[in-house]
């Protein structure tokens, strides 16, 4: 269950950004998780639910954008369908994962006092 340590890194990052900007509360986090990243979205959401208590993210919603895995030939850019041999049948070079490895923090919506 490395999702807990991912959430820990996430919350620490948010707290650092909040401290930098002098923010009082966090409303929403948006992360992108690739299908081939090794992170399970459901487990991440569960871990977040447990870990956010008594942190700055306590009331912040976590929205997770899933990213589908995509294999491509690095030379002719042809799609290599999932489940097939990861080698371009035309160019005979190893395929490249062009999307789906993301464990990414996109944006934080934070509250600043209106003065």
């Amino acid at each position: 269950m490395h999702e807990y340590s991912i959430v820990q890194a996430l919350v620490e990052r948010v707290e650092a950004e909040a401290a930098r900007l002098g923010v009082a509360a966090v409303h929403r986090l948006r992360v992108r998780i690739g299908e081939a990243s090794g992170v399970e979205i459901e487990l991440l959401q569960t871990a977040y639910g447990v870990f956010r208590e008594r942190t700055l993210c306590e009331n912040a919603e976590l929205s997770i954008v899933p990213v589908a895995a995509r294999w491509q030939c690095p030379r002719c850019l042809a799609e290599i369908p999932r489940g097939s041999i990861l080698r371009c049948p035309e160019c005979a070079v190893p395929a490249r994962l062009s999307a789906g490895d993301e464990i990414f923090l996109d944006r934080i919506e934070m509250e600043v006092a209106n003065v």
Binding site: L21, A36, I103, F104, L105, E109, N114
Partner: protein, 239 residues
Amino acid sequence: MCETRGRGEPDVLPVEVQDRILSGNDRTARHNREHFAEKGLLAINLMGSPGAGKTAVLEATARALKGRLRLGALAGDLETDRDAQRLMRAGIPSLSITTGSACHLDAELVHRALHGFPAADLDVLFIENVGNLVCPAVYDLGQAANVVALSVTEGEDKPAKYPVMFRKADLVLLTKTDLLPHLPEIRLETIEDALSRVMPSPRLIPFSARTGAGLEAWLEWLEARQSAALRPAASPVTA
């Protein structure tokens, strides 16, 4: 970029971060990698299920090398330092990293261990990760290569079930091949086929720590990687 929500209402400030959540780990991993490069030390992240034979691979490697390369190891485990003890008995200076409840090593754990470990006189540092086919694959430690030990008794479907670890592997050691005569249903070609669907440049060495099968091919791979690690970082290594 503030969206004003009216007088007295708080402003919600969207901050675009666009960064890897594990960027802190990545930074420490880069630091470890620079440290290994400066020392001309080849760092190998050895991963695999509990019981796949990771420690046995290292014991057999030490026996076969007979000092040709100076080996060291950091052994990650949830509890006990038994692996490190076994490796010490095999003549590999080793340090145990006890993770407590963590299912994987991270760059910081490796960094801390390096501070108490005399890695300066070594050629190859094995980082034997916690036995687990999922979590260790997510964390960069600063290694030059990932090696996954997959034992023949684990079944042919492991690459398909745990694609992330195998995708990131530079080499798969198919261990315990001495048991193959007892496992008529396990076919090497099926494992090779499964690997080629998750690993873009599949490289598999059938290996037995007991009989020594595959040892030569493994040592050849290791020595080639080790001489690549000695080249100055300025000259890019092409595959």
